[in-house]
């Protein structure tokens, strides 16, 4: 139970801080959230800066071209970047956090040589084609079909919740190669170039009005068999291997961001007078305690990953708890905004203290609604805790 960082860890932090403080002031302004080519260029530039400084793929193993940092260093990296507001991984998300590590672990030598370096340098953008309209919580029921035709697979079907599809070069795609009812046993993991003919991209508007996601419609898309990662019908295992790369740092950005919002909310409450209401203060106090605890839990998870390679029980506990606290935070924000929460664009509060923070909070509120849905609904997560951690019996089918 040691929360002191070692000298090496402190040095890693200090070098990173120095580098960040030098590089951040020279970044160009962030593009608008709807300017996809601009976002891609911005993210690529940042990734290139990281690459040149030796921070690209900080969590990737050295043999994959990454830095091979320890879980503790990964935590430090995310913490420091978040505290100074460094750019997020952005459009590099799928390549850096998901497809890249999968190819390192399961790809052929040729695949590694082809795909890894461009991801690290920020040259290639990847997207994910896992979920389908009829396969959400139950991913193993996916139906997008791939039929072998010589050296190619011919793919038909549709995918949903695909981020950055508009600007992606490749898609990590799960397809059904086994019989319709083969479930986990008939899935294959493919690298699909996004310039392949037959791909239609339709933006998917969320309740926040944004189009972070898209639907993919695949009509006789041909993908070379050489683009298969792992064996045919072994894609489920390949996907699970990727999940095992989680080192307990998955939500560090979101957590520190929530803590920042809570601080700014507190300031807002003090400005607008609602700080005089003890029930508001108590909600702030309790949320502060919860986020502090989630930060402590993160350190436990990372420590366990450092010891055993995976974060253990704490990962799913974190997800469930953070989803609830994140929603509680955004409900508090909406209550504090009162009528000002009826607009997602800036409004002048008329309190002589400058603009209301309503646009930011309202947007955060809408997005927070997905916390208990995305990446595994809370209902599914509770089942996982109950069955895998507590050992309760499965339901009859």
């Amino acid at each position: 139970m040691d929360l002191r960082y070692s000298d090496e860890e402190e040095q890693f932090r200090s070098e990173l801080r120095t580098w960040l403080s030098g590089v951040l002031p020279n970044l160009p302004p962030k593009p608008s959230s709807t300017d996809w080519p601009g976002r891609r260029a911005y993210d690529a530039q940042w990734q290139r800066l990281l690459f040149d400084a030796g921070y690209a793929g900080v969590d990737w193993p050295v043999e994959g071209g990454g830095r091979g940092a320890s879980p503790i260093e990964q935590l430090i990296f995310k913490e420091e970047c978040e505290r100074v507001g460094a750019p997020y991984v952005g459009t590099g998300f799928v390549g850096l956090l998901h497809a890249g590590p999968t190819i390192i672990a399961e790809g052929t030598q040729a695949q590694r040589e082809t795909y890894l370096a461009p991801i690290l340098r920020g040259d290639d953008v990847w997207c994910q084609g896992f979920s389908e309209p009829s396969s959400g919580s139950d991913l193993a029921s996916l139906r997008t079909k791939a039929v072998r035709d010589g050296d190619e697979y011919v793919i038909n079907g549709s995918k949903i919740w695909t981020s950055h599809a508009e600007v992606a070069d490749y898609c990590e795609l799960l397809v059904r190669t086994g019989p319709d009812d083969s479930r986990h046993k008939g899935i294959t993991w493919l690298i699909m170039p996004m310039k392949s003919p037959g791909i239609e991209i339709r933006p998917l508007k969320t309740i926040a009005g944004s189009t972070e996601f898209a639907e993919l419609f695949l009509d006789d898309v041909r993908v070379p068999v050489a683009n298969r990662v792992g064996d045919e019908n072994d894609g489920w295992r390949v996907t699970m291997v990727t999940l095992s790369f989680e080192r307990g740092t998955g939500f560090v950005g979101e957590l520190l961001e929530s803590m920042r919002i809570l601080r700014s909310l507190t300031e807002f409450a003090k400005r607008n007078g609602s700080w005089g209401d003890p029930s508001i203060r108590r909600r702030v106090g309790t949320l502060t305690a919860s986020f502090d605890a989630l930060w402590a839990l993160t350190k436990r998870n990372v420590s366990e990953a450092a010891r055993n390679g995976v974060p253990g029980v704490g990962g799913v506990v974190f997800k469930l708890s953070f989803s609830e606290q994140g929603q509680a935070l955004s409900e508090l924000a909406m209550d504090l905004l009162d009528r000002a929460g009826l607009s997602a664009s800036g409004l002048n509060g008329g309190d002589g203290l400058g603009d209301l923070p309503n646009a930011e909070y309202v947007d955060a509120w809408m997005k927070s609604i997905s916390l208990t849905i995305a990446a595994g609904t809370s209902q599914v997560q509770r089942n996982i805790v109950a069955e895998r951690v507590l050992g309760l019996p499965k339901e009859p089918k």
Binding site: S135, D338, L342, N348, V362, I373
Partner: protein, 342 residues
């Protein structure tokens, strides 16, 4: 005592539902999503023809001559399909304003409480003929004033939370309106609150129904998701919320309608009729706001990822529920009010 709906009330409910299905279904209304003028003239005319705006106007004056008990039934049906436009304010103002009873759209605006820092947001600024300004809650004496649309100065809000509720920020100082002599501000406010609560019950109910239907049809893990207890219990709790809120809203409406009921109940509780009225109205809106917001959240959760898309209308229920819960008292403010009355 018979607290079930009368046959006339059931007929009214069926009639309004048929009108809405015909002219103002949610699918129809969605065609005007996000417009500064969300009011479909054909739909509005259908409401007028169905007697919605004359509901509270005495028959002797050409109205329908019904009370709030019927008003909340109509509001509830409108809530179920999220009828857009200043319909509740126009209904509430109809007994006072000739124009409103003829279906000419009017807005209702609460003067912010003293010391409030939120901007003065007026709903449907482009669609209303005039705005009636209610004095702050703490002032039960001053009469409401009417401001003609031409005298309003406002800036359009670019991204209103609810695409069915365009907003303007009123510029201060607000124009001085014409006092509506003889009109009771508290009575008007209570009428608006109860109608709003009725609309919220409609939202809460629609959310249960639509999420239930989805849960029956959507299959994951080889079975309808509605066969999982986690989903069942979310929906059962949602139903409890809407039924409890409905009871409170109906009781509030009847209590405002019927002085005999109000007097007897005030007598039982040992308070004045005025205190009783505020208590039941505020209580009803607390429960209705809570039911609408929480059931909409539940409906989104049951819909999973699809619930988070713009296409599936669950978010519209949530957004409207938020809009309505911020008018005529939030849950916290109303809980304060109830506590102050006991």
């Amino acid at each position: 005592m018979d607290f079930e709906l009368s046959q006339d009330q059931r007929d009214l409910q069926d009639g309004i539902r048929a009108v809405l299905e015909g002219s103002l279904s949610l699918e129809t209304s969605r065609g005007r999503e996000g417009r500064d003028d969300v009011v479909d003239p054909k739909g509005w005319t259908a409401l007028l023809d169905a007697g919605v705006f004359g509901l509270f106007v005495p028959e002797s004056e050409g109205g329908v001559g019904l009370g709030l008990a019927e008003g909340v039934l109509v509001a509830e049906e409108m809530g179920r399909v999220l009828v857009p436009g200043p319909v509740l304010s126009t209904m509430a103002l109809a007994p006072i304003l000739d124009a409103a009873r003829d279906g000419i759209a009017h807005g209702l605006f609460e003067a912010p409480a003293r010391g409030a820092t939120a901007p003065g947001l007026v709903e449907h600024p482009d669609s209303i003929h005039a705005l009636v300004l209610l004095p702050p809650l703490e002032d039960p004496v001053t009469e409401p004033t009417l401001i003609e649309h031409g005298d309003l100065r406002y800036s359009q809000v670019l991204e209103p939370l609810d695409p069915f509720t365009p907003l303007g920020v009123l510029q201060e100082p607000y124009p001085v309106g014409v006092s509506l002599e003889g009109t009771s501000s508290p009575q008007l406010r209570q009428r608006a609150m109860v109608l709003t609560a009725g609309f919220q019950v409609g939202i809460a109910t629609a959310c249960v129904e639509q999420a239930t239907a989805y849960a029956k049809g959507r299959e994951q893990f080889g079975r309808p998701i509605g066969s999982f207890q986690a989903i069942k219990h979310l929906l059962a709790d949602a139903l409890c919320r809407s039924e409890l809120a409905r009871s409170a809203v109906y009781a509030a409406a009847v209590t405002l309608d019927d002085p005999v009921v109000a007097t007897r109940e005030a007598d039982t509780l040992g308070c004045s009729v005025t205190q009783l009225q505020w208590r039941v109205v505020a209580g009803a809106k607390i429960l209705a706001d809570e039911a609408a917001i929480t059931n909409a959240r539940t409906a989104i959760q049951v819909h999973g990822g699809m619930g988070f898309t713009w296409e599936v209308p669950m978010h519209l229920f949530l957004k409207r529920a938020r809009v309505l819960s911020s008018t005529f008292g939030t849950r916290s403010q109303l809980a304060d009010m109830v506590a102050a009355l006991i």
